[in-house]
Symmetry: D2
Subunit: 135 residues, 4 copies
Amino acid sequence: MEYNKIKDFISNNDQFAKANGIKLLEVAEGYAKTSMEINDKHLNAANVVHGGAIFTLADFAFAAASNSHNALALAINVSISFLNAAKSGTLYATAREVGRNKKLASYRVDITDEAGIVVAIFQGMVYIKKSSILK
Amino acid sequence: MEYNKIKDFISNNDQFAKANGIKLLEVAEGYAKTSMEINDKHLNAANVVHGGAIFTLADFAFAAASNSHNALALAINVSISFLNAAKSGTLYATAREVGRNKKLASYRVDITDEAGIVVAIFQGMVYIKKSSILK
Amino acid sequence: MEYNKIKDFISNNDQFAKANGIKLLEVAEGYAKTSMEINDKHLNAANVVHGGAIFTLADFAFAAASNSHNALALAINVSISFLNAAKSGTLYATAREVGRNKKLASYRVDITDEAGIVVAIFQGMVYIKKSSILK
Amino acid sequence: MEYNKIKDFISNNDQFAKANGIKLLEVAEGYAKTSMEINDKHLNAANVVHGGAIFTLADFAFAAASNSHNALALAINVSISFLNAAKSGTLYATAREVGRNKKLASYRVDITDEAGIVVAIFQGMVYIKKSSILK
């Protein structure tokens, strides 16, 4: 599989991740890693990183991992637990495939800060379509 | 309770919602409604609205509803199911309190498009701190 | 649709619900209601109703509602939040369809006690197979 | 910590697990493992192991792991994804602590069959009370 082509395609075409400063660092089989350098735009009214920003960071890794097989995969379900608030530095999300059949696949994502502290954990499922990502 | 003051405080101080064009329309007791007019910046690589954008829209309503009592509430857990992809128009999220005790409270959020089609459903829990939102 | 036939089929063939005293009270289109009269066998080591018993009560309503269309539906994802502990009396679970397309459908389930207090809330998704329930 | 005393206390007092043939095999710090030998009583109307039985197996490991510190911990939130149906043999659930602070702690649980195939994955959070398990 041409994981770098998939990485480039997703990196270049995900407008929401781009607009929010979230980068796709790695894509491999059933695996992806993303990062987000925290700035003021990521904060909520309680002055910590918005749940939506943490979710998006994780969801982007989940999307890349689940599309790494070059079959279009759409998120159908996600659960996220927030363990520790984050305020500054860089956050990372690492997505790993747990199971996959023809139509459905499941992933776990860890969201950590620079010190390796777990900020959130994420569990998600995708529905796999017949179309492919790369032409 | 001064719901309009809480609405203004959250609207003015949530940088991530602001940066992504998400508006807080209403706050009442255990209730809030938000909106997002879809533009290109909300799309993912599959050219539909990013799960992170839909989550953020819902999470912002959840945050406003759970903080409507003027006690600082932090999200600890959320599950979201994506039912229909969205591409254009305006999306709305409506959060309603299902239960609340001293330390924990639960909310359900509906995310719909302009035609009332359910785009996603969301279920979340907050942990309630001793500090208040307004001074 | 012959909802009573589906109700009878599920009632008669769900061994786990039967073994745990859980009854299927009603089935209609995208809807079902179940009940469980609490006894000592439903308790956990903290002497309150086991999360597994509450889940099973809700899951049984979810299964009946999602199979009410007479197409085999299998649970793929569930999130449950526990709001109040239960110790005695009868618990009820009411499942309602929120969305349904050819392959996936989503449900919300409320679990309440006799006084109408919300014990737990549940959100679930099924994958729809081509086989039918009734022959 | 006296993990064997906690294991014995939970094993002896969880009526619902006992009634359904679920055994607590191991308890260590933030860790527990349970097993369930499948029989007809665990099946649903589709003739595969009931989601409620799989949930209960996992929830029992989650309860033991989260109570392993000898502080009463109550489940507040769980998400479970079902990856593969199970019909016979023995299922195992392994719970591991991901994070813990004074009031909240998070766990991941893997449910596998005898061949190590992942049947389900589970993510749960507890609220920690001031009382202890052992006297």
